[in-house]
């Protein structure tokens, strides 16, 4: 079926949005790097680099890049039940591994790669166009996420050093440490992480 020009236009890549996303990824990668997390930093720099590479590749042809669409997944009830049970078993088993251990690392990286393949960042889902976000909505939600990011950064910079936790100025990571110290806490957090991934993947 032929899509309307308006629908196709709404899916075109906006250079301003891309620049903002690249800047956020580079900033996050920089601070993660100087906080002693080089692998995480590489992931963020890699994502930023892929967008820059993509922009450079399309610059000569067309400044406004259109993103290809793929069909959304429509899992059957049986498949969905098996997937939910699979995630629960995964979270219970992997939750038993110690944080930052190699078994935990592999157990997180493998499903993350799988979800990235399913999500196919180079494409978007076909279907009805989501509602347009007005200026009030943009300002409201941007303010919340910006405030959260700035407060997290403030707490990080108020630590004795970037790699030393502070009781007086706890970051989100420091606050979640006691929860993630237990098997149950890690299991719940892994279920939440997987659920968030599923929520995002079909957007």
């Amino acid at each position: 079926m032929q899509e309307s020009p308006a629908l196709r236009a709404s899916r075109r890549e906006d250079p301003v949005q891309r620049t903002i996303v690249v800047a956020i990824l580079l900033l996050a990668g920089f601070f993660d790097g100087i906080s002693g997390n080089p692998i995480h930093s590489i992931l963020l720099f890699g994502a930023a680099g892929s967008l820059v590479w993509d922009a450079a590749r399309h610059r000569s042809a067309d400044r406004v890049v259109e993103v290809p669409t793929v069909r959304p997944m429509r899992p059957t009830k049986g498949f969905a039940t098996i997937a939910v049970l699979g995630v629960l078993v995964f979270a219970i088993v992997v939750g038993g591994f110690a944080r930052y251990s190699w078994p935990m690392t592999f157990s997180v990286v493998i499903p993350a790669v799988l979800v990235l393949v399913i999500a196919r960042p180079g494409s978007i889902r076909s279907g009805p166009e989501p509602e347009k976000i007005g200026p009030v909505g943009i300002v409201a939600w941007t303010s919340v996420f910006l405030a959260l990011a700035l407060w997290e950064l403030t707490s990080l910079l108020l630590q004795p050093t970037l790699t030393t936790d502070s009781y007086a100025h706890p970051t989100i990571s420091v606050m979640t440490d006691p929860i993630l110290a237990s098997h149950l806490g890690r299991t719940v957090a892994l279920v939440a992480w997987a659920a968030l991934g599923w929520f995002l993947v079909e957007r």
Binding site: R11, E13, D14, Q17, R18, V21, I24, A28, D32, N37, I39, H40, L43, L44, A47, L51, D54, V65, V67, R99, Y100, S101, M104, T105, V108, A112, V115, L116, A119, P121, S123, I124, E129, P130, E131, K132, I133, G134, G137, A140, W141, V144, A147, L148, W151, S155, A168, H169, P170, I172, S173, M175, L180, R186, A189, W193, L196, G197, L200, R203
Partner: protein, 66 residues
């Protein structure tokens, strides 16, 4: 109020505002979209999709992986 309490109070305030926006979005006449609608819109573009999914992977790595 100690620095510790104040830091946590600000985090809670930001979360409360986010929850408030989400509740407000459920009203039909509201000009505030739901968080799901915002993500759906942002992920209509390649950069939005890459940025959001990279953020999700980073969350898993940051809290669990080496």
């Amino acid at each position: 109020m100690t620095s510790h309490d104040f830091t946590i109070a600000v985090y809670l305030l930001i979360v409360a505002i986010g929850v408030g926006l989400e509740i407000r979005s459920s009203s039909e006449r509201s000009r505030i979209p739901s968080l799901g609608a915002v993500f759906s819109r942002v992920m209509r573009t390649r950069s939005g999709r890459v940025g959001i999914m990279a953020g999700w992977v980073w969350l898993g790595l940051h809290f669990f992986a080496r």
